[in-house]
Every structure is written in C-alpha cells, then in structure tokens.
Symmetry: D2
Subunit: 321 residues, 4 copies
C-alpha cells in the first residue's frame, strides 16, 4: 500500500541518487491462501519463514577487515566491501547443490540491496501499531520516521534483510576499531518497518506511512528541495530483550481488550477468554491480566487461540526517546 | 459467544419445555488452522462444507402426506411425522457403506433437532452485519429478533440445517393442502442467524445477541414471566433471489469502502483496488462502483483478493418490514 | 505426463481435423501445496472443486430442440447447436455480477471444447487403476481404449466437463426423438480418463497411456494411416450406481491390503487398521472385510485416516465387456 | 506402526529396568490434514517444526561440570546431573511469559526422557530407506540395529530430541576431561530412527523394524533371556557433513529414477523432469544427473516440484562400517 503512494509521490520529486522500490518481495507467499486469509509468512510446503533466508558470513567479514589499512579512504573501503558482499552472495546463489526457495528469493533481493546506503524492509503482519526495528548504532534515526514504537536491535544475525544489511557493516566497523583503533562510520542503515495488518488495506493510512518514509529519506539527503520533516510526536523505544512475547498456555476464544499502542498497568486486563468446553460452569469466562506494566504492540489476529499461541507482543521497560 | 450469554441468562429463567444448546457443532472445523486464521467452513481434506450435509427426502414426505386423513389431529400428525423423520435419519446414519464426516456430524445434530419446534442455527462468518435467513411462511417472525437484515427463503433444500428442519414441515403442509384441501400450520420454525465475524470476539455484542434470541423465544412462549420484547428498530428484508453475490474478475489488494449495513446508491464507490502488477502506471489504483442501489451485508475478510472472489454479498430490491 | 507423449507422437502423424491439447487445466490447483503434497482438487479458499463448475442448461436445450424440423440435416443441426452452446457459455461468462474462479476457468475450457466431436478429460487422483467414465450411449467406445475398468454414466449433469459436453447432445437427441420421432446420432463423445496418482510420474506408463488414447482417436478416424489398434484385453464395466464408495466410521492408521484392480470376494480382507489410542489392548489392530464381491478401483492416498474418509471406491455387480 | 509391534512383543519379555513407549508424540501434527495427506512436520499456524523445540543450555552444563570432583562416582554424577537437567526443564516449562506449542510438547517429552539411558526417537517422513542418526561417540552402536544407513552427528545442538539427550552428556564428558583430565563414559545414548514414509503403513515391515530395535535393546542388556541379535548385513555410514541435500532450481513434474538405497555413480540419471510450460519443445523433458557418486536416502514425496525443493537427500563419501 505504502509502496503505491511512494511511487506516486516520488514521481514529482527531485531524487539524489537512486531509489529502488521492490513491491511484493514474497510473490509466492502473497498468492497462497488457505481458507479466505493469506498465508503470507511461511512456505506451506516446509514451514520456512519467507524472511529469514538472508545471508551473513561473520568470519568472512572479519577476514576482510584485516585487509583494511589505516590509510584507506572510507569510500575506498565501502567500494571494496560492496564488491566483496556482492561476490559472496553470487557464490552462495551458485551453490552447486542448490538452495531452498525462500533462500533463493532472499538472496536475489539481498543482491539488489548490496549497493544501497539505506534499506527499508516494509512488512505487514497481524493486528498491530506501526513499529520499527532499528540497529542500536543508528538509534538517532528513530526520530526521523513518524513511527511511535521503536525496537533497538544488537549486532546479532537472525536471517532478516535488515540484519543481513547492517550486520556486515557493523561488524566491519567493530573489527577495524579492534584491529586499527580506527573509528569509522559507514552511514549504511537498514530497518524493518511494520506497517500493520496484511488483511486490511487503507489508502489514507498508506499515504501517511509514505510521508513517514519520505521524511526519513529527506533527512538523509535523498530528496532535493523537499520540505517533509519528521512530526513532533511521542516516540517510545525498547531494547530487543524487553520486547516480549506473551504465549498462551490454554486454548479458547479471546476478546482482545488491550488494544495495540495502549498503556497497560500491571494487573489490568489484557484479554477476556471464553472456554468453550466449560461454558456452563463458572470457568466459562476469565480475564488475563498484564504480568507487568506494558504496551501491547501487536496481538494474534484470530479470536480462536490454541495453547502456545503468541497472544501479544509487548513493550516492557520502554522509555521516551 | 452468544451461547455463553444464553447459558448464563437462561440459568435464572423459568423455561416452558426444553431448550437444547449445542455449542461448537463443527468441532473439527473450529480446531483447524492454516496460518493464524481458522479454516472453519469446510473440510480441508476434501473441501466439503461442514454445514451442507443435512438430510431431506422430499419424495418420502409426499408419501407420508398420503397417510394423513382429513380427521387426524394436528398433534397426531406432528407426532407421527417426527417419528418418521427420526427414523429416516437413523436409517441414513446406518448406511452400510458409510457416510462422509460432515454428513455424519450433521445427521447427529439433525437427530437432536427433530423434536424441536424452534431451531436456531447460529453461524459466524466473514466481516458482516447481523442477518437472518427466514422461511417465507414464517415471515412474521422477522420482527421478533433484533436483527436488521432478513432474507426470506423459499421451500428449496440446499443442505443446511434450517432447510432440513423446515422443508419437511413446509412440504407436508403443502401436500396435505393439495391432497385434502386442508390448511394446516404446524408452527415449526427454523432460522440461520449470522452473528458476525468468526475472528472477532466481543462479550458485549454477544450479550446483545442473546437478548435478540431471548426476545424471539419469549414471543413464542418459551419463557415464563419474562419481559424481554423485540426492539422497535428498522428491519429490512429481501427475497433470496435479491440477495446477490458480487464476484471479482481481477486480483489485487482491496480497501472495502462500503461497510456492511451501509446504504449505497448505484454508482457510488464500493471498493478501492490496488493492482500490484501495475503500481507505476495509471492503472495502479481504481474504484469499483455499485452496479445498482444496494446494501452490503458482508464482504470478503481479507484485503488480498483473487479473480473469482466473493467480494460482497448485498441486498438489492430490499424493503422495510 | 500422457500429454507430453501425445505431443511427441502426434508430431509425426497425419491428423484429420484438429486436435487441441490443453495441459494443466487447473493452473492454480497444480501450484498449491500444503505440506509436501499437492492440493489439486479443490480451491483452498472456499473448498470449491476445480472440476465441477461447468455449465449445462437443460431447459435451453429442450427449447432449442423445438426449433429442429424433420427435414433439417444433421450437419445443419450440429452447426446451429454449437453456435447456441457457444453463445450460452459466452453469456454465462459475461454475467454482470461475476463468477467464482473455478467456474471462470471451467467455462473458458468448455468454450474451447464446444466444437469438438471427441472430448477427453484426463485426470489424476489418488492411488488407483486406470479407469474411464463413459456415457451409456457410447458404451461401444469402451473397447477402443486400453483401459481395464469402465464406468457407464447416465444423462445426469453433476458439473464435470465430460457431462457438460455430452448431456446437451444426449438431451437434444432424446428431445428430437420425443418431439419428431426422429432418431439421430450426433457422434459427439466425451470421457473422463483417470490416469492414476497425481503424486507419481512414470514416463513409461505415460507412453502406454498415450497409446491407449491414440487407439481411440485412430478408431474414430482422426489419424490417417495409423496402425494403432485397441489391445485385446479384459475390460470390466459397471453402471455408475454400482460404483460404490466405502467410507470409514473410525479414525486410524491403515494398511491397504486389497490393491486397486484386484478381485476381492465378500469377507476377504480389504485393510488392516491400527488404532493408535488402543495400541496396548486387543483392539490395537483389526481387519476390515469386503462387504460384498468387489474390485477396488482406488483407495485413499494416505495411511492416516479420519472417520468419514472415502477409504475405497469399488466396482460391484461388474461384468466383462 | 513399529510401536504397535514393540508393545505386542515386549508383553512376553522379561525386561530389566523400565521401557517407556510414547506413541504419537505430535498429537496435533498427526491429526492435521490439508488435502488428503497429513501435514505432520510443522505447525500450520506458524511453520514451527514440531521436532526442533527441545532444550539444551550448554553454558549451564559447563557450569555443572565445575562441580564435579575427581573423586565423585560416575553413578553419583549421573544422579546429580539428571536432577539438574530435570530441574532446568521444569524451569523452562514454568517460563512466566509462556512457550510456543511445539516447545511445550517437546519439553514434556524431554522431561519423560531425562532419566533414560537409551532414547530412541522414531520418525516417519517422505519416501526413504531406513536410516539412523547416531552421535559420533556411540558409533559402535550402529552395528546393533538392522539399519543399512547410518549418519554420524557431532556435538552440535539443532533442537531435536536425540541431540537434546546426548549433547548434555557429551558436553559434560568433555568438560570433565578438560577440567580434570578425567575420562568418563556415561553410556547414555540417543538416536533418531527414520522408519520410512508417513503415508504408507505395512504391518510386516513394522514387525521387522521392531526386531531391529529389540536387537539394540538386547545388546544393551535391557532384555533378559532374549536371543534377538543384530543381523549380519551391509551397513554404510557417513558424517553429517557428507549427508547432502540436492535442491531443485526449477519447477516441474518429476519421475524419481534413482530409488532410495540404490548406488548411483557420478553422471548417472537421478530424475527425469517434465517441464509443463515447454511440453511442445525439445525442452519438454530432461534428465537430472548425479553430481558425484552417491546413494539417495530419501526423495521428495510428491511428483510436483517447485524451485528450491529438497529433491533428494544423499550419502556422499560413505564407507562400509
């Protein structure tokens, strides 16, 4: 949705450099339905998440770091490193025994992103507020989007595109610092932006999201003579370790009382649960309470819930940015 | 959800006769998920709708009608006919080559309903207003529920529980009229009540729905000393032939602009469609207009739509009751 | 598979008329997987069978029959009737409120078949012998294929392509006979050929199947100077009413002891069933026996079976052709 | 299947110690079907593999190792370590924010296995030969089963039950060796036995598999006065790194020419592939050749294959044991 608005609005803008917009990165996921809803997140053949097959070889980056000298220009290092990364992706894609489908798709996308300074991976998911994943070293960029909830992530690779983009540069910076005591900032940034439910389209909200992204791009100097600025608004941040998942240990029908974005105090109700097997007893309905002060960021999109379901993902120990 | 409230509220009431509440009639459908949503409507093994395996043998009813004399009391006919129906279901269930799973479950439920005067089949489905299916002969009962949208159905069997309940009685009445010129009303009624989305639970709405059902039961004399009366409200009705389905002949992402229950004039926008394959052309987005005056009753629950999708089901040629 | 061999072999043949080969008629069904297997038979969004959305309007055919005179040539009738059918399909496809996806695809295919004299619908399904559905009036054609098991079907429309092809011509013949006492044979034939499991590809068997089809086409005069003749072999036939489905009324793990095509006497074992919930009792395993003399034609493809599963489809009261 | 036979045969045997047989460890996976086949391997809600949610905390084991003295008896260490492991599982299960469904089920099973000396995890999967995963330190046990293909795995945890069982003991042995230069063998062994296709039940083969397992148990002294001995047979082994997966980089229909267990030389045909989109060109069919000498152990169970499918898993660099 936001891609559509970005395309419309960038048409009339003066762009410095190049912007590549890739809609529909999981072409297969988008088309698969089981029942009326879309099975967008994983490969129905084998359960593989469509967004966790990106590539990062930490050892190879550390090895590359050893080739950097105290004198080499930052631009020179960037250029050589991009060639190194691109080459590594090509080698991976040419793996003689082949690769799984998610990994094939991911690597082709990663190859497209290898020369970019700013990589924004736009996601849709369950019922949620807008939120963004930000590498800790780029914390200042949190204020350049109009996104109220920010998650700061460490230099740990778990297979996603943003990590596959920033982990190499972050690792290179750190290795060079260790090796040469030389402090470099490459100014490459990557984010995952969560844009709300995949099952709801709203053209107005899409346009608001486009403004949020344009405000980041403008702040980074990508747009000429553009006056879009980040909104003055409350932004809350957490470290990844404080972004917690609340699993159920029961099955039932659920009314989600706490809405995404809402401040909930410890002990306040999160959900009302209907136990279908006990409708005629006093256990027919009960309330689930917040285990601590928190803000729900997203909840499971269905009212019908099994034991072990990710009911809510929540901010704890959050603070204003 | 409404079952829960009915159980709570009927506990303290004085009931005339017997009320059987059967929650979770498709136990298998309810538990099956593919992705995060629930695949409640059909058997994932073979595509069989869980709610279209009920039983009606028109010829056998017409045959039975011939045994009715001009003198036989209505209560006598009802008793004999119920025994006939119950026997027919038992025979079907004992089919030596077996039955499909949906049919097995349906017939067991139908056997439970065979002695009832009033059968209410409570459904949940996609995003919709509350609506109710009513046999044409029981049109007056439309005003006994607090349901704004009513669909009047003819004496045609398509496999559902309400039809399986009223088609035999309706056919019997008509056959007796033809055979003996005797006009009888058996006062057996059956309805399908559509209670909104299966993916949203709301305890307050469940209680309001319970009041609606209690108001019908009270009007029918099932509850003693109960003062729940149908609400004064607008009720709109259509014949089944005017309850139309609008299919897509394109695939895309959809914003549902017309909301269930809303009056839409011919030519007004129903939906805004995003064509992912043409985002960068003028065909990136377009509007779908209402082909005639209508009221959307439900729309497809997902924003991602293929060609041939049931986008909306709508009232046309409706009138106030 | 057989399509591949037909293409290769027809390349070098002298064809009289035109042969249209349409591989992959359910493009969507073929690509959908849930787990490792293919969900080929129904639309996973709504459970609609991909092969039951064809079109037949019996009333319109009877109406058309009234326009036929005693003098009109057979070729003249055929030409007019084909135009009538083609027009009816076009009208249906242009339905202003749209059509479901299966129906859209089916009607486009039916339109391609409307001018054909011989329509062969090639299916794959579960674990089965080769078998063929033949309209009763074309019984003699059973001996033109090399297919051991033949099912003769009456003039009843259930939505399949073969029926959608022959029901109109059959109904027209019968109406003309009734109206004018004129006996006409239009020599239009349609069949559904079941070519074994969709989950097993065997190039050799595909070639054998191609020979079987070429032998039919040759007998019908489609191929010039071709010496492929039907094999001398045992062929068994049943009426559709004697082609029976054996459903389970239990769930469990199954060893299919009776193989497709094998003669089984009443009381002989069909299957050995493992009851997982009773492994440690004497009910851990039991044998299912044939309820009458029969030949299994196909069985459910999975060893894991629920209650209400179509375990076997079998020939009863079969006879040699 | 094999569980059934083990139960029957162990009934009459004299067992030393205790044998716990747990059939149907993935109760949810076993019951879920999408189409006619069983979706046994992962949770259809979120793609989580049902067999990769077991628990191993390497740091905690190394910490425990420091409490072991040079004098402590092996039995004493085992007893204390079992209490430690059981306690760690309990703590994990009591996680206040809850756990995913697969992990809940896995941990309960792991708790049942914590006191066992021999843990056999019996799997079914796609079309395969019998094969077994064996920790490298227990290589000698490869000859105690009647299983022709053995995979030796290192001390690396990837979430499976066998690893969750042996990684702690293996790590403990190694830590004690490092810390105290004391060589201990705890004689705890764990294996994953792959018993062929989940979609085929064969009572005779189940009994043969039971003999294979009883021969291991007897060799380990679990059975008194039992004369079941491992068969003299060829057994082939590989290291995990040489057990390779061959992915497709095309989609199509496949005939699996090389059968599981068969010796294939480099360049010999593995599969014949039908390209549905090119049936009428010379690219309609082509052969996939073995990239090196190998033995296929399993192949994908469906003939319909997408790009990125695990077509074969094969032994390379294998040797006779």
């Amino acid at each position: 949705m936001v891609i559509y608005h970005l395309i419309q609005r960038l048409k009339d803008m003066d762009i410095c450099g190049e912007i590549i917009l890739v809609p529909n990165c999981n072409p297969i996921g988008t088309n698969i339905k089981a029942g009326e809803y879309t099975l967008g997140r994983f490969d129905p053949v084998n359960g593989t998440n469509w967004n966790r097959g990106y590539f990062f070889d930490k050892g190879a980056v550390e090895h590359f770091a050893k080739t950097v000298t105290r004198e080499e220009s930052i631009e020179g290092i960037k250029q050589r490193f991009r060639a190194h990364l691109s080459n590594a992706i090509d080698n991976k894609l040419a793996e003689p025994w082949g690769l799984g489908l998610a990994q094939q798709l991911n690597l082709k996308l990663q190859q497209m992103a290898v020369n970019a300074d700013f990589v924004l991976d736009l996601h849709n998911g369950p019922v949620s507020t807008r939120h963004v994943y930000i590498p800790e070293y780029a914390k200042d960029s949190a204020k350049l989007f109009n996104i109220p909830h920010c998650i700061f992530i460490p230099n740990v690779f778990a297979g996603a595109l943003d990590e596959a983009t920033f982990c190499p540069w972050w690792t290179l910076q750190e290795s060079i610092k260790t090796n040469l005591a030389r402090e470099i900032s490459f100014n490459v940034e990557a984010f995952t932006l969560e844009m709300g439910s995949q099952e709801v389209i709203d053209f107005n909200e899409g346009n608001i999201d486009a403004t949020s992204i344009l405000s980041y791009l403008n702040a980074k100097g990508v747009l000429h003579e553009c006056d879009i600025k980040p909104k003055a608004m409350q932004r809350l941040g957490v470290y990844l370790k404080d972004y917690k998942t609340l699993f159920t240990n029961w099955g039932g029908m659920v009314e989600y009382m706490a809405k995404p974005g809402q401040t909930v105090k410890k002990g306040e109700p999160l959900a009302q649960i209907l136990n279908i097997d006990d409708l005629d007893t006093d256990n027919g309905s009960r309330t689930l309470e917040a285990p601590c002060d928190l803000i729900p960021i997203l909840h499971f999109p269905s009212a019908s819930v099994l034991s072990g379901t990710q009911l809510y993902k929540v901010f704890t120990n959050y603070r204003e940015l």
